[in-house]
Symmetry: C2
DNA sequence: CGAGATTTTTTCGGAACCCGAAATAAAATG
DNA sequence: CATTTTATTTCGGGTTCCGAAAAAATCTCG
């Protein structure tokens, strides 16, 4: 049973509304906020003035917006970048980065590191992440600032409570409890999310016109991942991050997949599958180690140049992706698709077999109308998605009215 | 941008909470409602007393609940069955029924009709539905009652705004606008929903222990349908009812499906596919007409008796369903499954191949732990799901505080 | 340059709502 | 029949939102 709406929940909700309006648009006048939220001017006035007093919002004085209209000019309000900051951490195969983002969403500092994730045991892996975070956090401390939240994005399956990485291709370890470890090490809340989900979140912030309520973000890399937005909400499984597009079945009992099963989409479209098929390997060959982006690039060039086995490998991959998308469309209805990651570099070769396969499915009746967009560089998206996820959670804490804000404020500049 | 929470929304929400608590449990004392909703006794007292005055709730006097405890006895509150009623209409292949349900959820009257849906044009089909509804509505009118809403459940794909049947196996017609037609004919709101979605809704009301937040209802009949509950919400596509499990791809370019494409799960597990495979037909054979439940029963008996092509047909069907469920589990995570419809009669033969296939997928790692339940009789579920959907919408109208209830009350007994 | 005109923002009074505490109601107990 | 126990209602207080009026800040035009 959902719990009743108390009186103070009301204020909390409306504060949240104001905050999210500002997070989506950098700046707004009070009148604009009133229009967007449907609340009265007097209410917005009350809410914003208390938020300014709390240091959550700032007035942007002297903000000449060009159009000098008659009447009292609007005063732009914006999130106060000084209020808080978060750490966005990204862990992928052999790569680790930590970025400090201020409350307004600006990058303040970052730290990048290479490591051998597959050779590390659980403690070493957790330790490496903590170490990387500690370096940026220490630099913040020197400036008298303390981040208020950590968001980690990982390749692999995470738990739906955002506490653990359940499984990942970057390490043989399972159930790695990153969130509690980070929380304990730094004394602030931490979360772990799936990288493709973060990509979907980032796309929504970046291009809300195209990626609004419903879209698919498919990541083509060593493995095949997906982030999925439905009805404006990030889709997730009931226990895990879910949306494991790469492990939907393309061909029952088909090619051997990295996950040990057979016939997964990934076993036809992942980098190792491309290599295996291009080099005349059989479907029973064990998935090889991971490939560099350059190798995939070379493969794509070969495919473009000639129609040989290289091209056939990409056609097979496109078919697997296309039929998979067709099945997704049968469930969710067609929606825009973003192809992200190294595989996007070969999208010119993949598009035709993908569209052809979709057209052969019931879900892809109007396959021509489906919009595809390719974005090879996934890292900035993952980082931005993590940051926005963390900031949104900070917003939720701030929203509680009155001096409850102190928790967050603890990290503020001592000024 | 979500719109702000106004002051009166608060009361509306809390009234809705009270109503849904009572709808879920038939009866509750005020104290129990306070406990369930988290609202204070005084608030519940205020809300319930106004709802009693409006005629929405009634006190069940003299309700001896056996356990005579010390202290002032609780007064049970319940929904007032007299407040309103709805029409639940079910349209499937060659079968049409309309049922009057009172506000408390009791069946008051019904009307069943056979017809040849596939031979009828659009007007005839709409006319038949209106005619069937008119008969039960007229009988209500004689008693001075007027239903306040119509909910139609159909086999096939419906639009996500619940206005039209976009496609259905029961007729060659497309985009049949049932809801506006019914609304115009009777002057009350009407909706069209997918039958399998209604089954999922009904399961949740019937057995909330087992079917709570996440589960799959798979209907095995001429076609293969699915209703899906995720996070306590009915899953639907972005434009249509979605969840077209039967048209996910099992074998790319495989057996010919009723939908004209190839390789859909339905092309292996629908009744026509069972028949085709059992009788030595090829995968290119055009899907035959629909089969009676008796014929399928006979086929299942033959499969049980011997291991011949009949059995092989069921194994093929189970494989298709199992791999499909495996793909679903990769997306949504494993959850309980209800097998509904005629195919449930053969669940004893299907279960093994289903479980075997699931176990071969990444999504079905713990396939032994997945709970299956078979329920051959789908009609009562569809009807109940429709009724609850309609009643829930009536609740939403009633929830608006004050005399806004009049709209609904127009249909009340003139007393 | 100053008196409107115009637009934004704040202030004020009123109404609705929820909550906790106290009061009232309706039993069972002894 | 007084006491105990539990359920429900009543009352006073506090919070919130809204609309209207007031105040503030700028532009326009004579």
């Amino acid at each position: 049973m959902t719990v009743g709406v108390r009186h103070d929940d009301l204020r909390r909700r409306n504060r949240a509304l104001v905050l999210s309006a500002l997070r989506a648009a950098e700046q707004h006048s009070r009148t604009a906020i009133a229009g967007l939220t449907g609340l009265s001017n007097s209410t917005i006035s009350a809410i914003t003035s208390s938020m300014i007093e709390e240091g959550v919002l700032v007035e942007l004085k002297g903000g000449e917006n060009g159009l000098a209209r008659r009447g009292r000019p609007q005063v732009a309000l914006a999130l106060n970048p000084e209020l808080a900051s978060v750490v966005a951490v990204v862990l992928t195969l052999n790569h680790l980065s930590a970025t400090i983002i201020d409350y307004a969403g600006n990058v303040v500092d970052d730290e990048i590191e290479r490591l051998s994730t597959q050779a590390m045991d659980r403690e070493a892996l957790i330790g490496a992440v903590i170490g990387c975070v500690r370096r940026v956090v220490d630099r913040q401390r020197e400036k008298g600032r303390r981040p208020s939240r950590i968001a980690l994005a990982v390749q692999g399956i995470t738990s739906s409570d955002s506490s653990s990485m359940l499984w990942s291709p970057i390490t043989p370890q399972q159930n790695t409890p990153f969130a509690p470890a980070l929380a304990a090490a730094f004394g602030i809340p931490a979360t772990v999310e799936n990288d493709c989900n973060m990509i979907a979140v980032a796309l929504k912030w970046r291009d809300p016109k195209r990626y609004r309520d419903d879209f698919f973000a498919v990541m083509l890399s060593d493995g095949i991942g997906m982030g999925l937005m439905t009805k404006g909400q990030l889709f997730s499984g009931t226990h895990s991050s879910g949306g494991e597009f790469g492990h939907m079945i393309h061909i029952p009992d088909g090619a051997l997949c990295r996950c040990g099963r057979r016939g997964c989409i990934e076993a036809y479209a992942g980098n190792y599958a491309l290599m295996r098929n291009a080099s005349g390997g059989t479907e029973d060959d064990r998935p090889a180690a991971d490939f560099s982006q350059a190798e995939i690039q070379k493969l794509a060039d070969a495919a473009r140049a000639a129609g040989g086995p290289e091209r056939a490998a990409f056609v097979k991959a496109g078919r697997a992706i296309g039929f998979g998308l067709g099945s997704l469309f049968a469930l969710f209805d067609p929606a825009p698709v973003a192809i992200v990651g190294p595989g996007a570099l070969a999208f010119d070769i993949l598009e035709e077999p993908i569209r052809d396969a979709i057209a052969r499915t019931a879900g892809g009746q109007h396959s021509g109308a489906i919009s595809f967009e390719a974005e090879p560089n996934e890292m900035p998206l993952i980082r931005q998605g993590s940051a926005m996820t963390a900031l949104t959670r900070v917003d939720a804490e701030i929203v509680a009215p009155g001096p409850v804000t102190e928790q967050v404020l603890k990290g503020r500049k001592v000024a």
